[in-house]
């Protein structure tokens, strides 16, 4: 039997803690090595160090699967805001995973449906075809229809809280953030992660979004099968398309026109959800998208769907609009509403946060100034990275006053970072529809 099949998920709290501790030790070890190297050779690049650390953290996170892998994914989204070495390594998290044992799969079916996989399906392939972040995907057939069955790793929901608590110090240290500053945001992240472990919830989300997106003729959302699904396994029609991860890996083989088309579909899909539905797929990594044989964009995994409160939505995008229009009084008004500026700030702090937020808006919303935008241009990403580094170097941004903004923005940012990254990888030129600005309602 293959020893590859789960080299075991370390799941007791002590074991998991042990793993984090071990990695922490190695990370510090790498820093020591780096500095001792520096004494003898001052040309040693910080990149060298980041690469070693990324490898260690990556090893740890993939070994832990579940929440930890999710953290790896969220981190890998921040292309440009992280050293390149981290991003490259974390990207592997989307597909590099190990399989669960056959008896565990059978047991999951029995436990959650009272039936064996062979009773539920005409045929079931016990070998998984790919990994999902908190589970793995199998092929199955019923009544001549090929299906995709996603099965969750056991104990994921249970370990979310303890994983977050243990991953926190390590991750926060690495990125120079203080724990107390992000507690209000962690609640949002944890609640979404817990939601993602409930496949019945994902099924309901998927069906709802599919219904609302029925008019989008460029999108394919697979049909879900509630009678063949449960809290821990989820069955949907098999998408025959090419995973976007493969498409991106072989992007040179596709014409620029094809790449632009995929990019446009993705952008339009995100914009439609955010600006029309105010409810969006918030796990925008290439593993969740497929380029379909009929040219449509296949969308999977509605485990993490974020609903935007209307107040937040209007204020947030009105703030962006004011920023792009350079309308300072309005911008200030919305910055206060969005908690980027605070009444308690002294003049200097106020100016600092105003400048930084304005610059961020101008960078992040820059594509919206144009009718068409070329995302392959490295300038925007380089500037974003430079801006990120500059901000993180400022001592003011390392204080407890620094972490600002509404918690509702976390998944919106995550989604747009995901979108920009994919568009950048696609080297795509896309058309931007700014008409949503006219529909915003001022409070």
């Amino acid at each position: 039997m293959s020893k590859d099949k789960q080299e075991n998920i370390p799941s007791s709290k002590v074991q998991r803690a042990g793993r984090f501790f071990k990695t922490g030790m190695k990370v510090s070890g790498n820093y020591l090595k780096h500095y001792s190297k520096k004494v003898v050779n001052s040309n040693v690049d910080r990149k060298d160090l980041d690469k070693k650390n990324a490898e260690e953290i990556f090893k740890m996170l993939t070994q832990l699967k579940g929440t930890a892998l999710k953290i790896a994914q969220i981190m890998s989204m921040d292309h440009g805001l992280l050293p390149e070495e981290y991003t490259e390594k974390f990207k592997e998290a989307h597909f590099n995973n190990k399989a669960l044992s056959g008896p565990l799969i059978v047991n999951t079916f029995k436990k959650y449906s009272g039936k064996l996989p062979t009773e539920l399906f005409d045929e079931f392939n016990p070998e998984s075809v790919r990994a999902a972040s908190i589970g793995q995907v199998h092929e199955a057939w019923k009544d001549g229809q090929k299906l995709a069955v996603k099965i969750q790793y056991p104990g994921v929901a249970d370990s979310i809280h303890s994983d977050i608590n243990m991953a926190k110090p390590l991750v926060l240290n690495l990125f120079g953030i203080k724990e107390k500053d992000i507690e209000q945001y962690l609640e949002e992240v944890v609640s979404k992660l817990v939601e993602e472990t409930d496949y019945e919830h994902e099924l309901a989300n998927g069906e709802e979004i599919a219904k609302k997106c029925a008019a989008l003729d460029y999108i394919t959302i697979p049909k879900y099968h509630a009678d063949l699904s449960s809290k821990r396994f989820l069955t949907m029609d098999w998408l025959e398309g090419q995973p976007l991860t493969d498409f991106l890996a072989k992007k040179e083989e596709f014409s620029q026109e094809d790449r632009d088309k995929v990019g446009q579909q993705l952008l339009d899909f995100v914009h439609f959800q955010v600006h029309t539905l105010h409810q969006f797929h918030a796990d925008l990594h290439p593993g969740n998208f497929f380029v379909m044989p009929d040219g449509k964009l296949g969308v999977l995994d509605f485990g993490c769907v974020k609903e935007l409160p209307l107040d937040f939505y209007n204020n947030y995008f009105l703030m962006l609009k004011a920023g792009l229009d350079n309308d300072v009084p309005k911008l200030r008004k919305y910055m206060y509403k969005m908690d980027f500026l605070r009444e308690s700030d002294d003049e200097e702090t106020d100016q600092l946060f105003f400048d930084v937020t304005l610059k961020t808006i101008n960078l992040v919303a820059q594509p919206l100034v144009h009718d068409t935008f070329y995302f392959g241009n490295k300038e925007l990403f380089d500037e974003l990275a430079k801006h990120g580094t500059e901000v993180s170097k400022k001592s003011e941004f390392r204080s407890s006053k620094a972490i600002r903004g509404p918690q509702d923005a976390i998944f919106l940012h995550r989604t747009f970072f995901g979108l920009y990254n994919i568009l950048h990888d696609l080297n795509a030129t896309v058309k931007l529809d700014r008409s949503f600005f006219d529909r915003l309602e001022e409070a």
Binding site: Q6, I9, S11, V106, N107, Y112, L116, T118, A157, D158
Partner: protein
């Protein structure tokens, strides 16, 4: 006349009515309405009755394993995993009752007396399983040691039962993780590994006259 099956169902019936098992044979005999002497001749002490129930659990788990068509094709590691999962499934059918039907002492590995009959069945089955695994090459043949393999599998089984009793996670998901861990630990040791290669290497050197 009370036979084994009738006594077992009466014993469970007692639990259902009282949410506990009888404290002693007399209490159970009174409940049965027969005289204690006749009863005690067959089952003395009550722990034997529990042992019969646990013995049946192993057999039932094995039956459930065989309902899965892939069971026949499983390698030993998966057979063992499958048995452990099904033992837990059987235990979950009467969760509270089964938890109160076993008494672990604080220090493992002193094993509950209630499992003595189950042990005979389980170690017997594991012995056959290991022998098949050794024939296929999945499990290493190691003179002086390998006769103990079936006991290691039994200790793994006890660990899982012990873990299940303590497990408070939803749908016993942590027990599933525990099963994966214990089965892989045992089979990583039982599979031919670096130890076997080292022994073979040094035996070779010894035979060649290297010193």
């Amino acid at each position: 006349m009370y036979d084994k099956e009738r006594l077992i169902s009466a014993y469970i019936e007692f639990y259902d009515k009282n949410q506990r098992f009888p404290d002693d044979a007399d209490e159970f005999a009174n409940y049965l309405g027969s005289d204690a002497f006749e009863f005690l001749k067959t089952f003395n002490p009550l722990v034997s009755l529990k042992a019969f129930i646990w013995e049946e659990y192993f057999d039932k788990a094995l039956e459930q394993c065989q309902q899965d068509p892939s069971f026949e094709q499983y390698a030993c590691r998966e057979v063992y995993l499958s048995i452990l999962y099904n033992i837990v499934n059987v235990l979950n059918e009467r969760r509270e009752m089964n938890k109160s039907m076993i008494s672990f002492t604080k220090s493992l590995p002193s094993f509950p007396k209630e499992l003595k009959r189950m042990k005979v069945n389980a170690t017997g089955f594991y012995k056959e399983m290991i022998s098949a695994g050794q024939n296929s090459g999945e499990i290493a043949t190691r003179p002086l040691v390998d006769y103990q393999y079936n006991k290691w599998c039994w200790y793994g089984t006890i660990f899982v039962i012990y873990f299940w009793i303590k497990d408070t996670s939803e749908q016993n998901e942590q027990t599933d993780v525990a099963i994966e861990k214990v089965a892989h630990l045992i089979f990583d040791i039982l599979n031919p590994n670096a130890v076997d290669s080292s022994i073979e290497f040094f035996t070779f050197l010894f035979k060649q006259g290297f010193k």
